[in-house]
Amino acid sequence: MSELCVLLVDDEMELVQAMAERLELRGFTAVGVRSARDALHALDEDDFDVVVADVRMPRMGGIQLARRIRRKHPGAAVVLLTGHGSRRDAEEGKKAGAMAYLAKPIDLADLIQVVRDAVSAKKRRDSS
């Protein structure tokens, strides 16, 4: 049985592809897309446990995407990634509904832990 189902969103497609390949080697189902719009399409088509999205993307960034996910796909937990690691982004991300926040470059083990924690925390929050 597959581990969690993860949707990776970053305009850096090479990053998304490498992360997806590594997660799949660890038993996750991972799908990578290069924009927030593509992510929303993917969420309309399939169920994902968690969405890992970059904060800074053209057109729609990760924080705006997190808000849209909270409204349209409340079942998915959101983890945000950033190249800057600013506290303001972290606070805005939290307000937008993100469960966690990681600064690039990330450690895959950290990402996996954060993904699992985010999904568990979301389940707890939704059931309370």
Binding site: L15, L25, P58, G83, K104
Partner: protein, 222 residues
């Protein structure tokens, strides 16, 4: 605050803006390199545990690493060229290099604003004499203003052409009318001896550069 202090602050702000954008790009490259090298390591671990190592896949991953190293190298090279523009307060400026570099520096700004940025350079070399940093600063600010005012999904063109002993740089694609030349822009125009005016309905901003910018050996830009 005096005009000189304002300009010093604006110069630092320009340097900071560029550095923040480039470090973001470098971080992205490092993040990708880390993931790809991690993938290589994962495949090695899997092979060590009795799996097979697909030589073609390893070769393809090495190629992906190479692409990212070249990309990061180009980004660092851009920062290095920009950092050296404060080395001397006055020199012969290769305008094709300068305009191309400012275009590269503003690329992420354009991406964030959903605007395509095109740089059009003349076939032959074109030079003026002056302070390279001040000139880069004024071009960057005018380009930023044009990008900010462009229609979403539109194209901004930065076009360099010779004009008498100097040159003309056109910023085409401003979609939301004219912006007043004030503050640091106005001060930089005076210091560089350049003029900037909108053409037509305000969708093109034209910067006229003299062959020799005013000023002697030192210009205080912090």
């Amino acid at each position: 605050m005096t005009a000189g202090r304002d300009l010093k602050r604006a110069g630092l702000s320009f340097f900071g803006d560029v550095t923040a954008g480039i470090t973001h790009d470098i971080r992205n490259s490092l993040a990708i390199l880390k993931e790809i090298s991690g993938l290589l390591s994962d495949l090695g671990d899997a092979a060590g545990e009795g799996g097979t190592l697909d030589a073609e896949r390893v070769k393809s991953i090495a190629g992906r690493l190479d692409v990212q190293v070249n990309r990061a190298n180009a980004t660092v090279g851009l920062l290095n060229r920009f950092a050296h523009s404060v080395d001397v307060p006055r020199r012969r400026i290769d305008l094709r290099e300068t305009v191309a570099m400012v275009g590269d520096l503003a690329k992420s700004k354009a991406v964030r604003k959903r605007v395509s940025l095109e740089v059009v350079l003349p076939e032959h070399g074109l030079g003026v004499e002056g302070d390279p940093f001040l000139l880069e600063h004024v071009i960057f600010l005018l380009l930023g203003m044009t990008i900010e005012s462009a229609e979403r999904g539109g194209t901004v063109t930065l076009a360099l052409s010779p004009a008498g002993p100097g040159a003309t740089i056109c910023f085409e694609g401003a979609g939301r009318g004219k912006v007043r030349m004030e503050g640091a822009v106005s001060h930089l125009l005076t210091l560089t001896g350049c003029t900037a005016e909108y053409e037509g309905r305000g969708d093109t901003l034209v910067l006229e550069l003299p062959g020799r910018m005013p000023g002697k050996e030192s210009t205080d830009h912090g």
